[in-house]
Amino acid sequence: MSELPEDLPRAHHDMGGVSKFMCEAVDTSRHALNDFDRTVDALRGLLGAKSVMSVDELRRGIEAIPEAEYHRLSYYQRWIRSIADNLLARGVLSEAELRAALEDV
């Protein structure tokens, strides 16, 4: 096997050993979470605790974000997108009522 593992049809979130990141420095500085981050994190925790949505469903929804957007969105921006995706898929929210709610906020 002379080809690199990444030459096989991996998904974009599956990043172990991928060459394009090998020369990328790691930002080791501390980044404080903002209110948006904390709120999304808390929402996910509550939806899990209430068995509305599992962490596995969160991950599936994150992995479903197209690659370019996945890299452009922040960590918790991916989360809220996946949460909304899952709540719609499960019928907890309908798209019509979410659209209406987005008009109001």
């Binding site: 096997m1 002379s2 080809e3 690199l4 593992p5 990444e6 096989l8 049809p9 991996r10 998904a11 599956d14 172990g16 050993g17 090998m22 599992s54 596995d56 469903e57 991950r59 599936r60 992995e63 479903a64 499960r90």
Partner: protein, 93 residues
């Protein structure tokens, strides 16, 4: 159930190419041989949990691998240890 020390091979399978899926077996291990370090317990299959489907309990193992030979950055003797579910592993004689 695999005993500690059992040589196993990770299935060379690419569900990613067959439609929507959620898998916890990293691409860089597909088709590679490793050694079972220990059984970690039984857990609901995440491949079903991710779609809110009924999920069977599956054996989970800690499996040790040498880094892929095509990666040249490693130091000899360094290893990678990964949690893998039974249905991704095949016994190597």
């Amino acid at each position: 159930m695999f005993p500690s020390g059992q040589r196993v091979r990770v299935k060379f399978d690419w569900p990613e190419t067959r439609g929507a899926c959620h898998i916890r077996t990293p691409h860089y291990l597909r088709g590679r041989e490793g050694v079972v370090e220990r059984h970690l317990g039984r857990f609901a299959n995440p491949e079903d949990l991710a779609f809110a489907r009924p999920a069977a309990q599956r054996d989970l193992y800690h499996v040790r691998f040498e880094p892929p030979a095509v990666w040249t950055e490693e130091t000899p003797g360094d290893v990678i240890v990964v949690e893998l579910f039974e249905h991704w592993l095949e016994e190597v004689a």
